[in-house]
């Protein structure tokens, strides 16, 4: 007996509250390891293989919808409803009130700022759910392990795609069936042999053209029967091969499609993780590239992780330039520089990405730092990711970014900010020098994680300052100052990015 656990990893307190009830009822969980690959086929397989589905749906504020919720959790719920497995939904009361028709009638509300108020109802719902899944009839899907089917519509590019997909599947150990696109001869949904072939398959891959075809009919059959499916929609105009929320991958270039399919297959094969602690799956698993790695002792090396040339950075700089209606590189007075940095900060906050602690690397003494593009894709960041992101923005805006890494309470934390243009530089920085710089107002360091959601304080901000999981710009600056002035902090690294670039140019 295993239950699929669908939740937002960012809302640790809410998860913990409900998890205690689940533990009490000894409900064993499976959950999707947080990953940059959205693989609907894996979810479909998991949902029909599990005994039940529990979802905790907290509020996810966006600029468009202050009572919004994660579309990914919403999609998981849709898949669970389609699979008709026993379910238990806890939904933020405000979300439920605003989006009532998105959820089935049995959704149980909770108050995010008063969880205990619903304790009795929540406890009863979990107990009832446990009894339900203990007695529920579980329909086991009858399929052959490592059996796959590739169904392609007509057309040369689709046939070529099917050939290569088949080869990838074979190399991954699958036996692959390739029914002809024309074989149903117009029988459509009555093609029972096709349906049985689909049933037998562990995984289906549909390669669809622009026009409706027999492949679409086969897809409909698989969809109705909750058979795990990868959908590759040929679209010559497409330039982005990332899967949509529905799972559809639109592809225009053959090679891009193969890369995307490979990622889907790897994610599918990785499966789910057993869960005895929700925090275990809260870390984004991503493929670290060598350029992500930073040696913990190499302060100047942080400059290599500042990327003013990334498109995401350029777009944000353009947005701020338009807003300020001035050449950002000419700004040098204190108030305007603070405003400029505040606009970057508020801009990043609007994405409402999540804070997380760093992912383990394979190499001791190294830490992985996301690029700005990865921040945009992963939608999560560590303090150092955020520091390098803001340094990238400031450098792209012609300012002089600085990054400071501190040791405190057996942990390390990074702040970012800027030295005002033209102000004296620090030759060798000590914590005292930094305090001097901040006290004189020649530099500003701020709590960059305030621009991403975290339930608890990350740096020196107070719980009150981290309101609604974010920190206001003015409070982020205060929190940065507070951290620098704390008596127990040690300065591990201080990097003046412009100075570092010039030093590198001299070498």
């Amino acid at each position: 007996m295993q239950v699929y656990f669908s939740h937002s990893y960012r809302d640790g307190t809410i998860n913990k509250y409900f998890f205690d009830y689940f533990l009490e009822q000894e409900i064993p969980f499976l959950a999707d390891q947080k990953s940059e690959v959205w693989c609907v086929a894996k979810l479909e397989r998991s949902l029909i293989d599990t005994t039940g589905f529990i979802s905790i749906i907290p509020k996810r504020v966006t600029a468009e919808d202050p009572q919004g919720y994660s579309p990914y959790i919403g999609r998981e719920l849709d898949l669970a409803r389609r699979a008709r497995i026993p379910r238990l939904l806890f939904v933020d009361a405000q979300v439920l009130a605003r989006h009532r028709l998105d959820f089935p009638q049995d959704a149980v509300p909770f108050l995010s700022d008063g969880l205990e108020q619903g304790a009795e109802q929540h406890s009863r719902a979990v107990r009832s759910f446990r009894k339900n899944i203990e007695a529920a009839f579980t329909m086991r899907r009858d399929f052959k392990q490592r059996n796959a089917i590739v169904v392609a519509a007509e057309g040369a590019p689709l046939r070529k795609a099917a050939d290569d997909i088949e080869e990838i599947l074979r190399r991954a150990g699958f036996d692959v069936a390739r029914p002809s696109g024309k074989r149903s001869e117009g029988r459509g949904l009555d093609d029972i042999r096709l349906l049985e072939t689909l049933w037998r398959a562990e995984l289906c891959v549909f390669i669809l053209g622009k026009r409706l075809s027999e492949a679409h009919v086969a897809l409909a059959m698989a969809h109705a029967n909750c058979i795990p499916s990868v959908r590759l929609q040929f679209d010559p105009q497409s330039t982005d091969c990332h899967p949509e929320l529905s799972g559809v991958i639109r592809w225009g270039l053959h090679d891009d499609m193969l890369v995307a399919f490979n990622e889907q297959l790897m994610s599918y094969q990785a499966g789910l993780v057993s869960l005895d602690d929700p925090s275990k799956i809260s870390q984004m698993q991503y493929k670290q590239r060598s350029e992500n790695l930073w040696k913990l002792e190499d302060g100047p090396g942080l400059a290599d992780h500042v990327h003013p040339d990334h498109n995401f950075v350029r777009d944000e700089v353009s947005r701020v330039r338009e807003e300020m209606d001035t050449a950002l590189g000419r700004i040098s007075d204190r108030a305007k520089t603070l405003d400029l940095c505040g606009l970057f900060y508020d801009g990043i906050s609007r994405f409402r990405c999540g804070y997380e602690i760093e992912q383990q690397t394979d190499e001791p003494g190294m830490q992985s730092i996301r690029t700005p593009t990865q921040f945009q894709t992963h939608r999560t960041a560590t303090c150092l990711d955020m520091a390098c992101l803001f340094a990238s923005l400031l450098e792209a805006a012609g300012q002089d970014p600085i990054i400071a890494v501190f040791d405190r309470n057996q942990s390390a934390h990074a702040l970012v900010g800027y030295r005002l243009r033209g102000e004296p530089v620090l030759k060798r920085a000590t914590i005292g020098d930094l305090r001097n710089l901040i006290a004189l107002g020649d530099a500003v360091l701020f709590e960059a994680t305030g621009a991403v959601e975290s339930e608890n304080p990350v740096g020196a901000e107070t719980s009150r300052e981290r309101y609604d999981k974010l920190i206001r710009w003015a409070d982020a600056v205060e929190a940065g100052k507070r951290m620098v002035m704390q008596p127990d902090v040690q300065l591990r690294h201080f990097v003046d990015i412009r100075e570092q670039r010039e030093a590198s140019a001299r070498r």
Partner: protein, 242 residues
């Protein structure tokens, strides 16, 4: 410079971010140019003397500061007096470490050079015309105190007893002139200034960047001054190793 003074200066700098003036009563002004010698700022000239216009302005408000070394200092009020009590007070300070100190300052105010970019450029020009020694530092900011008490132990075991004329000790602000503090006795080697008026106990200085001309020869074409910093801050180890 003796090790106790280094400890004092290092701890003061780490916590307050400024160089501690040594000796504590030394006179120093914003715009003074000079070198660091044995932990002291030795004045050689001033920006004004070199014809460099230097606008000095106060920065922020005033504040009282009390800082005591993290280790090796114990302050006790004499047996016949207590905070708030009407009595003639006696304050006993014991030091159990060389370099341990007490630093109390009343109405500490920051003043600094306002036109730093222009001063930096003028110094570069003075250097190019051989009127500026590139080893010179400029005092670009300093704290003045209406009154300050600075006591630094130069022995690993030392003590000082202060008597207050005031009938009551409203607070343990040893820079408060209303306490009428005077030294009753000293044991061991101690440098002390008690409620001294118009001190300049903290300062920071900058120097011409080095290497000034070792930069990339091709600068970006921006159509505007790059506002590259021409000055750099003097590091603590320069003071300690001077």
């Amino acid at each position: 410079m003796g090790s106790p003074v280094k400890l004092y200066q290092e701890e003061m700098h780490n916590n307050l971010g400024f160089f501690a003036t040594w000796l504590p009563g030394d006179g120093i002004e914003v715009g003074d140019a000079g070198v660091l010698e044995n932990g002291r700022f030795r004045r050689m000239a001033s920006l004004a003397e070199l014809g460099i216009e230097c606008k000095v302005a106060p920065s922020g408000g005033s504040q009282d500061v009390q800082y005591t070394s993290s280790e090796g200092t114990k302050i006790a009020i004499g047996a016949n007096a207590d905070v708030g009590e009407l009595a003639s007070a006696e304050i006993k300070i014991d030091f159990t470490r060389a370099g341990a100190f007490v630093f109390h300052a009343k109405q500490l105010r920051l003043q600094r050079i306002e036109n730093r970019v222009a001063v930096g450029e003028a110094i570069v020009q003075a250097y190019q015309h051989s009127r500026w020694n590139k080893d010179w530092l400029v005092v670009e900011a300093l704290h003045t105190a209406d009154t300050a008490t600075v006591i630094v132990s130069e022995d690993s075991s030392a003590g000082i007893v202060l008597s207050a004329k005031a009938a009551a000790i409203p607070s343990l602000m040893l820079a408060d002139p209303q306490l009428g503090l005077s030294v009753s006795s000293v044991q061991g080697k101690i440098v002390h200034l008690i409620a001294a008026a118009n001190l300049r106990p903290l300062y920071s200085c900058v120097r011409l960047r080095d290497p000034l001309f070792g930069l990339p020869s091709v600068q970006p074409v921006r159509g505007a001054a790059s506002e590259r910093a021409t000055l750099e801050r003097a590091a603590l180890d320069e003071l300690l190793d001077s």
